[in-house]
């Protein structure tokens, strides 16, 4: 554990947490790919709704299909919106992962620099021993 002037940090724990967020980012990648697959283009929408108007242009069957078409269209809109949102969420978690990684590196550097200073102060005696 490193403690210095108002902060406390456990570098190993922070490293594990950074990895955990990385896993989360990967999970969001999966969700985004699934939302890509869920996007409904014209062909996919057509695969979900019948076309009774080809047989008779009006009537209960046509009204039923129109309701289906409206529902599928609104669902597709919502899926598109959710995709945009999750791309943003994913990018922010990736940003958090990067920032925590950077912070961890800086903390580690402070610790290393600090150690180096004292190693230098002890350097003559240790160097002598090695020679």
């Amino acid at each position: 554990m490193s403690t210095s002037g108002g902060f406390t940090v456990r570098l190993n724990a922070l490293g594990s947490y950074e990895e955990e967020i990385g896993k989360l980012v990967t999970e969001y990648d999966t969700i985004i790919r699934e939302l890509d697959l869920a996007a409904l283009d014209g062909t996919k929408k057509a695969s979900l709704v019948g076309e009774p108007e080809k047989l008779i242009s009006a009537g209960g069957a046509v009204e039923f299909a129109e309701s289906c078409r409206t529902l599928v269209g609104n669902y597709a809109t919502l899926i598109d919106t959710l995709r945009q949102l999750h791309v943003a969420i994913r990018s922010q978690f990736a940003h958090a992962q990067q920032a925590i990684g950077d912070s961890r590196a800086l903390y580690a550097k402070v610790d290393d620099d600090h150690a180096l200073v004292f190693e230098s102060l002890l350097g003559d005696r240790s160097s002598g021993q090695e020679r």
Binding site: M1, G6, F7, T8, V9, R10, A13, L14, Y17, E20, I21, L24, E27, Y28, T30, I31, R33, E34, L35, L37, A38, K44, K45, S47, L48, V49, G50, E51, P52, K54, L55, I56, G59, G60, A61, V62, E63, F64, A65, S67, C68, T70, L71, V72, N74, Y75, L78, T81, L82, Q84, L85, H86, V87, A88, I89, S91, Q92, A96, A99, S103
Partner: protein, 335 residues
């Protein structure tokens, strides 16, 4: 029983293809049987069986019509010695004015949608929504809880925690949306399945009624029952088919997740009921069947409309949620 001198397949199957009732459709068998009977009934000129005979036109009268089990010869007493032995009174179909397309119009609305097989276009969305729900309900809150166990203190820790809390708020809000939208998808598929089932059963019931009418010529109104399922209440049913909850559904598991969700939904939501095709005259039976077809479609439409109102409400929820909208404004795609 097929009509006399005919099979269970209509002579012209083009109308079924035009309706989108392909050979692999579960409704195809009964659609063919019904179409074959309708071909028979609509073309009395091709056989010597049931027809509507037009009486009283021989002397310029307007005539009156009556169903008969076969051709009717003119009365020889009207014009003695002038009636050929093969003469018969004018006639028309017992279903004159009807078309086969009217009887399979309902089926054409639900024949082509691909919703029951696991590789349908809805399955990836169902998996994604299940995962979005899991992220907001379990995964992200757990991650935020872990942060507090890190033993990290200081200004950097504080702002990082605030940042994560904001992400948790957004994922929490969207998780509520995903939970409701996820239910809509299998319910849509179940409504389609239910309408299919009822139309198929009604067609089978109509064929049985036709068979009975033809073979037995009952002296009173006949009625044939068929097994329906209740469509009303599917959209409003308080059920959740969230297949996740313990782990992420990966792409490879999308189809199996859909099969589970759809099977569960269909099992829970499609409750047996009953229907009947009834009437005395051929036209009564046809009208009874067409009335049932209209009712089935109307019930199905009501459920779809309810689902659509829910989706419409979720779109409004999404557009009006300040946390989501601020997040999108800050970090979403630039116009």
């Amino acid at each position: 029983m097929a009509p006399p001198d005919r099979s269970d397949t209509p002579r012209d199957t083009g109308i079924l293809e035009e309706a989108g009732i392909q050979s692999d459709s579960n409704m195809r068998h009964n659609a063919e049987r019904l179409a074959s009977w309708l071909e028979f009934l609509l073309h009395p000129e091709e056989h010597e069986y049931d027809r509507t005979v037009i009486y009283g036109t021989e002397f310029g009268g307007e005539g009156h019509k009556k169903e008969e089990p076969g051709p009717v010869a003119p009365s020889s007493s009207d014009q003695p010695g002038t009636v050929p032995s093969d003469a018969q009174l004018p006639f028309e179909s017992v279903l004159e004015g009807y078309q086969i397309s009217q009887f399979i119009h309902g089926m054409s609305a639900v024949a082509s949608p691909v919703v029951e097989s696991a590789d349908n276009a809805l399955a990836p969305g169902a998996a994604a929504l299940s995962n979005i729900w899991w992220m907001g309900d379990k995964r992200v809150p757990s991650l935020v809880d872990q942060f507090q166990q890190l033993g990290w203190e200081g200004d950097a820790s504080t702002v990082t925690f605030d940042f994560l809390l904001r992400l948790q708020t957004v994922t929490g809000q969207v998780h509520k949306l995903a939970e409701q939208l996820h239910d809509v998808i299998p319910k849509y598929a179940v409504v389609i399945k239910g309408v299919r089932h009822n139309l198929d059963e009604a067609a089978a019931g109509c064929v049985r009624a036709f068979e009975k009418k033809f073979a037995e010529k009952p002296a009173t109104e006949l009625s044939v029952d068929w097994g329906a399922v209740i469509l009303a209440g599917i959209a409003a049913a308080a059920v959740t088919y969230m297949t996740a909850g313990t782990a992420l559904i990966l792409e490879a598991a999308i189809t199996s997740a859909w099969s589970t969700a759809f099977t569960d939904a269909a099992g829970d939501l499609l409750k047996p009921s009953g229907g009947a095709v009834s009437g005395y005259w051929w036209r009564d039976l046809a009208h009874s069947y067409l009335r049932k077809q209209a009712d089935i479609l109307e019930d199905g439409k009501n459920e779809i409309d309810q689902l659509n109102r829910k989706v419409d409400g979720l779109i409004k929820y999404f557009n009006n949620d300040q946390d989501i909208q601020k997040f999108l404004a800050d970090y979403g795609p630039r116009p």
